[in-house]
Structures are given as structure tokens and as C-alpha cells.
């Protein structure tokens, strides 16, 4: 009778061990779930639309104005960048499209290419990107 009791206790002990393992696995599962949620949330809050908007301005508006004389082009891009800075500042973030234009052509006095540096800082994210633009497009 006594040995039967002891065998029962061993069975209970092993049952507890197995349930302990199952719970450990469920903790690992919960942690993975959390990691997945957190990483998808990080992607969700990333300001991709704001950055895409800034890129669109550089790739269309600035490229369309490449027919302007060098000093006019510099003035145009500087004013756009300044206004964008002000508009984003009132929302508590920082955005800038800095343009570094090439030397003007001797004949037409226009720029043949320019470099754009896009900066966005907001919501704990800092983004920097540089693009080279010609009349044919940007890379």
C-alpha cells in the first residue's frame, strides 16, 4: 500500500514537470508574439508617407525646375526647403530637403545635375537619404 502511494506521488510530480514545460513554452510563445507585435508596430509608426512626399518633391518639383538659371534654381530649392522646415516645425518634427546643385553650364547657365539630402526627424526616428538627380530622373 505504501509503495503504491509513493508511485502515485511520482506520477503527480511528473505531471507537474510536464505542465511546467508546457507553461515555459507558452511564455516563449507569448514573448515571440510580443516581439512580432512590437516589430510590426515599429514599421507602422515609421513615417514612410512623409519621406515619400519629400522624395516626390525632389524628384518632380525640383527636376521640373532644372530649366531655371543656376541662381534661380538655388533660390527656388532654398525657399521650398525653408517653408517645409517651418511647416514641419509647427507639428513638432523636422524635415528638410537640402539641394547641392552642380556648377552651371557655360551656355545655358542652368544646372545639369544636383544632389538632394532628405532629412526627417520625428517620433523618435531620424532618417537621412541622399539622391542624385538629373533631367532624366533620380537615382
Amino acid at each position: 500500500m505504501e509503495s503504491m502511494n509513493e508511485r502515485g506521488q511520482v506520477i503527480i510530480l511528473f505531471a507537474l514537470l510536464v505542465s511546467g514545460i508546457i507553461i515555459s513554452l507558452s511564455v516563449i510563445h507569448a514573448q515571440n508574439l510580443l516581439a512580432g507585435m512590437e516589430s510590426s508596430r515599429t514599421i507602422m509608426v515609421f513615417p514612410k508617407e512623409e519621406i515619400r512626399n519629400l522624395r516626390d518633391i525632389a524628384e518632380t518639383e525640383f527636376v521640373n525646375e532644372m530649366g531655371l538659371r543656376k541662381y534661380e534654381f538655388d533660390e527656388f530649392t532654398y525657399n521650398v526647403s525653408r517653408d517645409i522646415r517651418l511647416l514641419y516645425a509647427q507639428k513638432g518634427s523636422y524635415a528638410e530637403i537640402a539641394v547641392f546643385a552642380s556648377y552651371p553650364s557655360d551656355i545655358t547657365n542652368t544646372v545639369s545635375y544636383f544632389n538632394v539630402r532628405i532629412t526627417y526627424i520625428g517620433g523618435g526616428i531620424e532618417y537621412n537619404d541622399t539622391t542624385l538627380c538629373r533631367l532624366e530622373g533620380c537615382i
Binding site: 506521488q9 507537474l16 507553461i23 527656388f76 517645409i84 511647416l87
Partner: protein, 163 residues
Amino acid sequence: MVRGQMMTLEGIMGALLLILVTYTLFQSSLVISPLWSEFSDAQLKQLAYDSLRILDGNSSLNDSLKGMLLSLDSSFTPNQDFINSLEMLIRPANYRLEIYWVNDSNVEKAVLVDNRPTPEAIAASRIVVLKNGDLDPSSPFYKSGAKSYTPVVVEVRLIVWRA
């Protein structure tokens, strides 16, 4: 003696079990649940951003963002073509439309569609670049004395909420 040890082990295992269950419950309920509102907002936010992106087309079109801004006068009433296209994209959600622009280093604001948002509303915005030369002198954005290539940067902000 052996039975005593077994009981001690059982006690320890029981305690561990309770700790693990409590830990798992707190981990899953407290941390995950507040995120769900963000996930549902994300869909509405993407809808608003996509609508603005679709509308940011050729300025010759009356229902594009540029076309609408170029045709604005001091009453700040957007043309009906633009409203129809916007509502086709946004409905059944409700919306409010605002614009912001820079005038002599000051940010000015105008409300184009004045609906009152709910606290769950989300905002999306798009920056549009106009040129002074394309504007009518009666336009609120027109800068008299400025060159034709002088840019006018306007932020169009769309606030959307579920009706």
C-alpha cells in the same frame, strides 16, 4: 522520509506553476491589448494618405490637390469636382480638410471643410508646391512683387474619423 521530500518537491513545483501562470497572464494581457487601437487606426491613416497621394496629380485637373489650391479664392471653398473625388475615396468615413502655408515666415491656416472630428480621428498630410506665376492675383497664396518661379509651399491636412 521519501514521502516528505516528495511533498516538498510538490510544493515547490506548485509555487513555480502559480508564478509562471501569473507572469504569462500579465505579459499577454497588459502589454498587447493597448496596441489594438493603433492597428485599427493604421488602416484609416493609410486610407487618408493614399487618398491625398492619388489626388496629388496633374495641376490641370480640377480635382487634383494643385488644381483645387490654384482655384481657391479668399472664401477658401474648394471646387465641387475636388470634393466629389475626395468623398469617393474617403466615404463612408467622415473628414475635415485644412491647409497650412508660409507667409513671411508665419504659418497661416485655413479650414476648407469644417466638420468637427471625434477624439479617435487621425490626421494625414501632404505637402504641395505651387509657383507664384501659376497663381491668380486674387489667390490667397499670391505674393505680389515676387518672381514667377517663387514657390508657395502648402500643406494639405486631411483629418479622418469613422462616421
